[in-house]
Symmetry: C2
Subunit: 366 residues, 2 copies
């Protein structure tokens, strides 16, 4: 790799017999510059292939045109979509993305904050592990604008945008009830985060409103190992184990509301092994609308998450925070997810598979 020294403002200034300052202002579109000089400068910059040094710029300005994006796990398709939409919108506004992965580890969060501070990011968008708010306090102390994504830490008073998981849990449950379910079980991951707690709260609200009881054992937990560099967010196999245990009960539920579509896979398998049919013997409602879910047998009713919208709003909130103006928009935003009805809760067409799936996502070395 050759080392052709990069051109600087000084080079252009020298070539044109101008001062560095003039060149700088000509290029950055400031006024108080003759149109002819501006044209000359632009031409010369173009000619030599001038690339502004944003490191130098950042040093002067005290902050970089960079956003830190801190995510727990990019292999969670919801976060993958968030990364895409945030990257695009940030780029549109001239910002680059510094990506950090925490893998649900608080220690990694602390390191991430260090890194954000060192790099003088212009702002950060963070999915906190929610083990503690502490790692993130430094950001406000030092004045780094920060938006929390998908998991709030109310103590911090930061702006926040996420999915309305309480509503998601509610809608999933309400739908099952509307389809005739009376006894419903929840299958959730065993992780102390608000997204899960919210979904369960929504479940309880729906049950209460329908006058249905929630006996002990209605909330089943699938074990998770935190702090584990897991390429994959959820283990259907673990859900399978828990589901098998549930299916040994004397009285089986009419429906199971699962915390993510992956768990639905494990449940499907457990039901199949027991010779039980979805939805006739048991309805299944997923969460997340994984692209595969429309193609399962039977296609899975699930809750679709507003990934793109959440991502866009996160960037917008951050930009507003940076601009400093009190925004019209509320500081905390919950975006409603939508229920996607498919055959796993449809007892009328039971037995037949149909439904034309529209969405999708996957994995190949492409």
């Amino acid at each position: 790799m050759a080392g052709a020294r990069r051109h600087t403002l000084r080079d252009i200034a020298a070539a044109l017999n101008l001062s560095v300052n003039t060149v700088s202002r000509a290029l950055s579109g400031k006024d108080g510059i003759g149109e002819k000089t501006r044209a000359r400068v632009r031409a010369e910059a173009e000619r030599v292939g001038y690339v502004p040094n944003s490191v130098a710029r950042s040093l002067v300005l005290g902050s970089a045109m960079t956003f830190g994006l801190v995510i727990t796990n990019p292999s969670n398709p919801f976060y993958a979509q968030l990364i895409s939409s945030i990257e695009l919108r940030a780029r549109t506004h001239g910002y680059s993305l510094l990506l950090m992965v925490t893998d649900e580890s608080e220690e990694n969060e602390t390191r991430a904050v260090e890194s954000l501070l060192r790099s003088s990011v212009g702002g950060s968008i963070v999915v906190p592990v929610q083990a503690s708010a502490d790692p993130w306090r430094r950001l406000s102390t030092v004045g780094v604008p920060t938006v929390l994504l998908n998991r709030d830490l109310p103590d911090l008073g930061y702006r926040f945008v996420g999915t309305d998981n309480e509503l998601g849990g509610y809608r999933a449950t309400e739908h099952a009830i509307s389809r005739g379910a009376r006894s419903i079980v929840v299958l959730e991951e065993d992780l102390p985060i608000t997204t899960i707690a919210d979904r369960i709260a929504g479940f309880r609200r729906a049950m209460a409103e329908a006058g249905l009881s929630v006996p002990r054992g209605s909330i089943m937990r699938v074990p998770t190992r935190r702090h584990e560099q897991a390429a994959l967010p959820w283990q259907p196999q673990q859900a399978y184990q828990v589901a098998r245990r549930m299916l040994r009960r004397a009285r089986l539920p009419d429906a199971v509301v699962v915390g993510n579509d992956y768990f639905a896979l494990g449940l499907y398998r457990a039901l199949e092994v027991r010779g039980l049919k979805v939805p006739d013997d048991m309805m299944v409602i997923g969460y997340g609308d994984h692209p595969y879910s429309a193609f399962l047998s039977p296609p899975l009713t699930t809750v679709r998450l507003p990934a793109e919208e959440v991502g866009n709003i996160a960037v917008d909130l951050l930009l507003e925070e940076i601009a400093g103006g009190r925004s019209a928009r509320p500081l905390k935003q919950l975006i409603a997810p939508t229920l996607v009805e498919r055959e796993s809760t449809d007892r009328t067409t039971s037995g037949r598979t149909s439904s034309a799936a529209k969405n999708d996502s996957g994995m190949t070395s492409r």
Copy 2:
């Protein structure tokens, strides 16, 4: 957000009656510093919560402790895993990650290069769109060490690491043949990239070695829209359409080798609608080993990709390139994928579903 000005070397120097220089060297572990002074400096730095300004450092050094990672689509689970492993290994070596998404667009590539140059990244890891090598030439011109990931551009002479897709296609096909298939069809995306071409080459080699013919129409293409900000990498629905067309043929193949597990979904659906059984009427071999695939009915035989290994090697290659030493390791590395045999190619147990799935990945607002 308060604006407590960050402490600098100068602050520490002043507090201790030392020169900036001394403080710098004390903190950066250089020698030629008294052990007592070093201790004093460290203590003071600790006390005031000193965070080094890496922007200033980068300006002096001419390059940042940052790697650019350019990816076509983070929602492709293979790339999501790559992001995770690369981020971790880069971080281990003190590097941050600047993430850029190209969405298969050459225009975005050009912008990405601009951005990499502006930020003075220490190196970059790139999945090229493969529309042209041009955007990437500038990196070598300016001396930015670059490693190509998963898709090579041989003209550039850059280091490269990726999956051995020729071998993947070969193994998938060979497996189908070993299970009795004579007439095999390939279902691939319609994108002019080497990964796909390589898989098809592997398919042809396996067929040739077995003395089987590859008549016209054996390679079926699923249309793709490039340059489209697709949150999801593949459309099973598109594959479904193409598969339906294929199933109208007079003579059906014994097996279909698909380019990614998502297409297998569409194919499964098409077969189901036609009343055909997998594997008895037709075998299906996927590619990518998506976590869902073990849980399909029947579980999908597929090719597992060495994502973590590829990611780690990419970083290692880049570090070697930066170090400048001629490495022991070859400059171009192809990692072999492995075949995962499941029931979609197993005619002996046909009808029954079993197999304990182990892996996984998914989507929920967690």
